[in-house]
Symmetry: D2
Subunit: 337 residues, 4 copies
């Protein structure tokens, strides 16, 4: 950590900070420049809170040298993490393909979509039983009944199922049915929820928060990992910017950036990023070309009647045709789909 | 709601939408323009999900006419809401002044700060016992012991106390001690938590999410109101933008905008918005001049030793001197402090 | 255009607006809803300034139905525009590949890089002679001497050359040497400059402004087209967001969005978007998979000694190897490179 | 400047950088930490381009210690700059008040508004003769005729006049008529234009670009100052964010931030920031309370008929009444209006 002092700092000021650094078990290294004195705190800076120094009037700025996350970092583990569940994997050469409706809407529907996406090449079935909705008056999901539909579809198709958890009080319930637990964008910094799923031995999809930096996203992954659960799948789903032509701005750069910083697999959700069915394929192709380890795609038999997120859902036929084309992109970058 | 069809829509397309609108209990009104046909759905559009129409390939866009929130809107209630608790009010001519440390750090500390801010003019004492922290390795708050410190400080000062709730499982515990419950920015769309505090008969401070639009913020307030709790205090605390000179960008315009759309009181938290003690006073003055109904200010005896948010905390003396100056601004806009 | 009146609008108010619409040569269409009266102005709304109505106190909001641009829209011209210059094309099945250094730094350097990128598959040579630099103390470009270097490199390689124009006073000079003129991101709304290049019969690359919406970008293209020059190449180069892990956020979605709204070709500049050489290839691949009509890539023999933008430049060898791999992605989506 | 090397940097790497630093006339200071080696370049780092080092593969990041601007910095000049023109000042205890229409629309109009705003307390008259408009089909300003109207209004009222310059080719023309030259937000990084106004002996209002950081804004001021013109008035006019409730997000914090970094006066333009007349007063009050040195307010006799920016213009009566109320806010913070 580097502490830059304001112009005019005295020897007394420098001494005070030097002692504080030593008290934290680190070594202080002083550089006296023409215009500024700079103090380096050498050692494991993760032990230090930069705020301890920023509070001092004589301090101009404090700069971290190391990333604040550790277990999820590429420095901690060089090799890519590969997660296996129900005979499928996330993180290797083969791309993972999560597909299904935004919301579970019934048994017949889930078994129907499940069969369609399975035969088109999906490796996981997704569907929400608990839905975070902006409006209290909107459909909030089928709850446990929805979880049962997912299990039925898993039995029919053999695909492991992924579903969202919104509330720590539902943890046991959701964990009983789901193979993969999803933490939604709005809960990326619901630290209690992260701590709870960190205690499970089950893969967790951690969606990036709508305005989370890459670093904050990885810090949230660190919350899960620090409780013992290393089976974390990061999911880029678009960030909030000034642009209104798309629902969110799909941050495709985040994929290679995260893969350079972390060993965790990263998948992309072009459906939520774009908010429009017509943009799903170009963004899915972009994600694959940029190095994503998988995709999450919304599929619905009748998007115009979907209880949520209809405009961005693909019909099963369109999904199947898209997978054929995306397979060529995957192969062009040395992956399989 | 207005549904704009793509160029080339047929009579058949128009008929289909007209029938769907009627089936929802509304009236359809057709305008055939030179380049586009436009269909108005007349009636209570809150019943309709715009997505039902956006999913149709022939639909170009769907525009809401009415705001999606109702109970918290100025149309629903013309007069300003004034909330009373423990002999203090939020929302009237007198500005509410919440002050105290970011985190509760001990009994002596809370009673000490409590006394200082009370004598300087604070009307509420704030302090976090459960802290949402970006890093799992940072101080997470004192928990129940912290709540007890708050109560002790309330007894010593007579000030009602406000503290954050992060987890629905802590609701009974926090509600037992706190006079006002705060929902933090990261939980603004933790809909389960909103639903739970909506069932209480206790004022709730709803902080604006870091990238929430004014409309989303009011929709989250609607979640609370729709469960029966109308005692909602909105708190602007800065939004995330590209600018890095301040921790967040304090959206001072949101204050008059929200007050025109809603009857709820709006307070401002310049400490979190700025992230630097030196900016607290100019932003607090700006908030008052823009029509805020109160302030939330972080105060700490030794900011450089605070366990969280030190850089933005004021010392008690500086706080007291600032209140004297802000009082003049309040009076200039017809308020008291 | 749709004009939504505030609750409580009187017959008199409606009449006043109806007459204003008629005076503009359009037809007014009135819908009286339960809570709001809505007036449609039917006809060519591009003639009307929405502000004419937004200024009236009784008007709540004004919504455009049609896009404000016309000549560059897909409705105006269904087929993709293909631009030919110096034997090369931009906009067809074959991807255009602009490559070269950020700044022209000398004759030998330009001829050297020109040869290397030409043999690797580049179809245009780029290089800046006039450089917009954030600091007045930074290298500002070689000026006319730089233009001469470009021409020399064109003679040596046969590649048409593209270079930036910053000032209307340099127009004749730059147009004399360059085959393609670039308008940089910072000048996307330098309307005088747009008007001037609109009078030329030469292709213009219009970079997207750092915080321009897709609509504003297309409006700037409309400025050029409205003066008679239809040879416009749009270039996505990243937008400004809160994320600091990359220099800009590459808005890959803008590529398919623009291609659906406009007939103009769209290329991508992953070098400026990312700001780091290591991200150029994944973003270039993403752009191709998303439907871009070409790429602009910074190449420098010694990036660490570049007078500008070194960190994002590729060495010629790395560039050549990248082109081989990107060719596979291009073929996977039915294009050639 | 601090250069952080990647883990695994060798003695050879360190030596290479050390020599490069020496070659630039600075001193290198090496700190070998547990996980990283850090090199400080001590001396006037403004001479160094951080990119020189960022291009090296062994460099992880480069951090500036000093601000890149100098002449406009508070370190260069401790005392506030006060600018005098035509008997009025900008930058002292008395607030400057620029008022007038967005566009000059005629002689009678300008003399009329001029008289009204002068008697209400305005100290400068504003009005655009050259207008940057998003659409090529919108009113582009009256040109020289508009400048003549401004001069006529100046003669009638005694108020110095401020108007926008968009094109270096219009410099002599505009300078002949105007007392204060305005550089609009879209031209904040039109470096050629900045260089030209830097050669004048006339005050320049430099509006903040729509997505400019405070640092970029001050760098643009440095462009002007480095040519010799120190009479620069900074103007905050709102930045682009994801929020759509206001046209721009008025960054009130930028006012105290800029005043701490620079000696230049800062005024605020709440009219453009908000885009709605009803928000002008709360934002103007906020700006004053936050320490602004003046305001720029749009005033129009008939906002609903304004040729541009009608929705945000105040009528002369409303303006006069507002000034009376704002005067109280100014006095509350020790200023006069």
């Amino acid at each position: 950590m580097i502490i830059v002092l304001r112009r005019g700092a005295t020897e007394q000021d420098v001494l005070q900070i030097e002692e504080a650094i030593k008290a934290m078990g680190l070594t202080a290294h002083i550089s006296r420049g023409v215009e500024r004195t700079i103090i380096g705190a050498i050692g494991d800076e993760r032990k230090i809170d930069p705020e301890s120094f920023e509070g001092l009037p004589i301090v101009e700025k404090v700069l971290r040298i190391l990333s604040p996350f550790r277990l999820v970092s590429r420095e901690f583990q060089k090799e890519d993490t590969v997660i296996s569940v129900g005979g499928k994997t996330v993180g290797g050469k083969a791309l993972a393909l999560f597909a299904g409706p935004c919301s579970v809407e019934g048994h017949e529907m889930m078994v129907g979509i499940g069969g369609r996406v399975a035969s088109a090449g999906a490796t996981f079935l997704r569907g929400g039983a608990f839905k975070p909705r902006t409006s209290p008056y909107a459909f909030q999901g089928m709850g446990e009944e929805g979880l049962k539909c997912l299990v039925e579809a898993r039995e029919a198709t053999g695909l492991p199922v992924a579903t969202e958890l919104m509330d720590p009080r539902d943890l046991d319930l959701v964990a009983r049915y789901a193979d993969v637990i999803q933490i939604g964008a709005r809960n990326m910094q619901n630290f209690r929820l992260l701590t709870e799923v960190g205690k499970l031995d089950k893969p967790v999809i951690l969606k990036r928060g709508m305005s989370a930096t890459v670093q904050e996203w990885l810090m949230s992954a660190e919350y899960i990992a620090s409780e013992g659960n290393q089976k974390i799948i990061l999911c880029e789903r678009g960030i909030r910017t000034y642009e209104t032509a798309t629902r969110n701005t799909f941050d495709v750069s985040a994929i290679p950036v995260v893969k350079s910083l972390s060993h965790l697999p990263v998948i992309a959700d072009p459906s939520h990023a774009a908010g429009k069915a017509g943009l799903v394929e170009p963004l899915a192709g972009a994600a694959i070309a940029a190095g994503a380890d998988g995709l999450m795609i919304e599929v619905h038999q009748q998007p115009e009647r979907a209880l949520s997120d209809g405009p961005q859902s693909l019909k099963p036929d369109a999904f199947a045709a898209m997978v054929v084309r995306l397979r060529r992109v995957a192969e062009a970058v040395g992956r399989t789909l």
